[in-house]
Point group: C2
Chain length 212, copies 2
């Protein structure tokens, strides 16, 4: 178990939501690079594999019937339908990783985060914010690659997500990348210090004084 | 307001408890040095000033009657009687500092922490642990300055505090000082990202979209 933390700490759930244009992917990459403790969860989908995609690697490709059966058995901690296809994360493999001391990061939209909260209510729910709406507009239009319509859609989505910011445990404002990353990393490191991740210490405390 | 954070963030309450021999003072000094955002709260006491102590600097020196009157008006967020003298922290000045964006750190015993929880229930309650009881015994005896009786008393106190570790939000095990400080700092930095400290962002979110 190469990824098992030598302190026998359990893994933590980090849920990260952000409107497009807040640097979410960059921050997540930085954290994954700094901490090799993250496990990778392979989602289930009913869409067909594309190109080089392999079953069990990019996704677990399943039939609509299988997906619906899994869903009715409550096996997903979150699922969504996008363009007629189902996507979902099975709870059991995530719980297995957490038990092995691997952290699990969900990069997901607010609706998905709300579903995850019901299963992983002790997870750390993080919302990344742009410094202002003006700045968000600037970032979205500044890419120069998107059509006006696509930008308008992203902005409307962003507005919808910003309206749900109160749901989250932590707000990180990505004005300066280094500061935002310092805070993101701090939420992760602080999360590791929660007693519920340390059954080994609980055990030590139970026997405290009996060894002296 | 030199100490006011330019982001208009409110201050946070950090409560730090630790058995003697866990490096609490060192860690607190390091944090105060790194972050000039901490305010200093001057406690009230009924004991007489000693040496160079000045009223309002080391302590607010008050009569027993004044202390008891303040206590009965509920003005203290924590108080204790030690060797026949009363000691207490007034809530109002702490709340004033928090409103000004100054963080407030309480270096206190578990009984004091439990009192603080009732007033500052949104604070971050941190417990520092030694890596093991054997190591704690080693550290307490290793000082070489204390009598056997004093060591036994410290150890008994430590045992009593360890039994209450479950009360806290965060456990930081001080095995390696650098790691412990990284975690301590992380709890502080993560604490700053809690939405309740950002009424300025709340305000911005209320008007979100109206400026575009």
């Amino acid at each position: 178990m190469a990824n098992k933390d030598q302190t026998h700490r359990l893994g933590q759930v980090l849920v990260v939501c952000a409107p497009s244009g807040t640097g979410k992917s960059t921050l997540i990459s930085m954290l994954r690079e700094d901490f090799p403790t993250f496990g990778f969860s392979v989602s289930y989908t009913t869409r067909k594999p594309r190109g080089e995609e392999q079953d069990g690697r990019e996704y677990n490709f399943v039939s609509r019937e299988t997906f619906i059966a899994m869903r009715s058995r409550g096996e997903f901690c979150e699922w969504a339908e996008v363009h007629g296809n189902f996507y979902g994360t099975a709870t059991a493999p995530v719980e297995k990783m957490l038990g092995e001391g691997k952290d699990v990061l969900f990069d997901i939209d607010v609706q998905g985060a709300k579903q995850l909260k019901k299963v992983f209510y002790k997870g750390n729910f993080i919302f990344l914010l742009p410094p202002s709406r003006e700045e968000l507009v600037r970032r979205l239009t500044g890419r120069g690659t998107d059509s006006e319509e696509a930008i308008a859609k992203r902005l409307a989505n962003a507005d919808g997500e910003m309206a749900q910011a109160d749901f989250f445990d932590y707000w990180i404002i990505n004005d300066d990348l280094d500061t935002a990353y310092e805070e993101f990393k701090a939420v992760f490191l602080a999360g590791r210090c929660k007693p519920e991740l340390r059954p080994d210490v609980e055990e030590q405390l139970k026997n405290w004084g009996e060894d002296g």
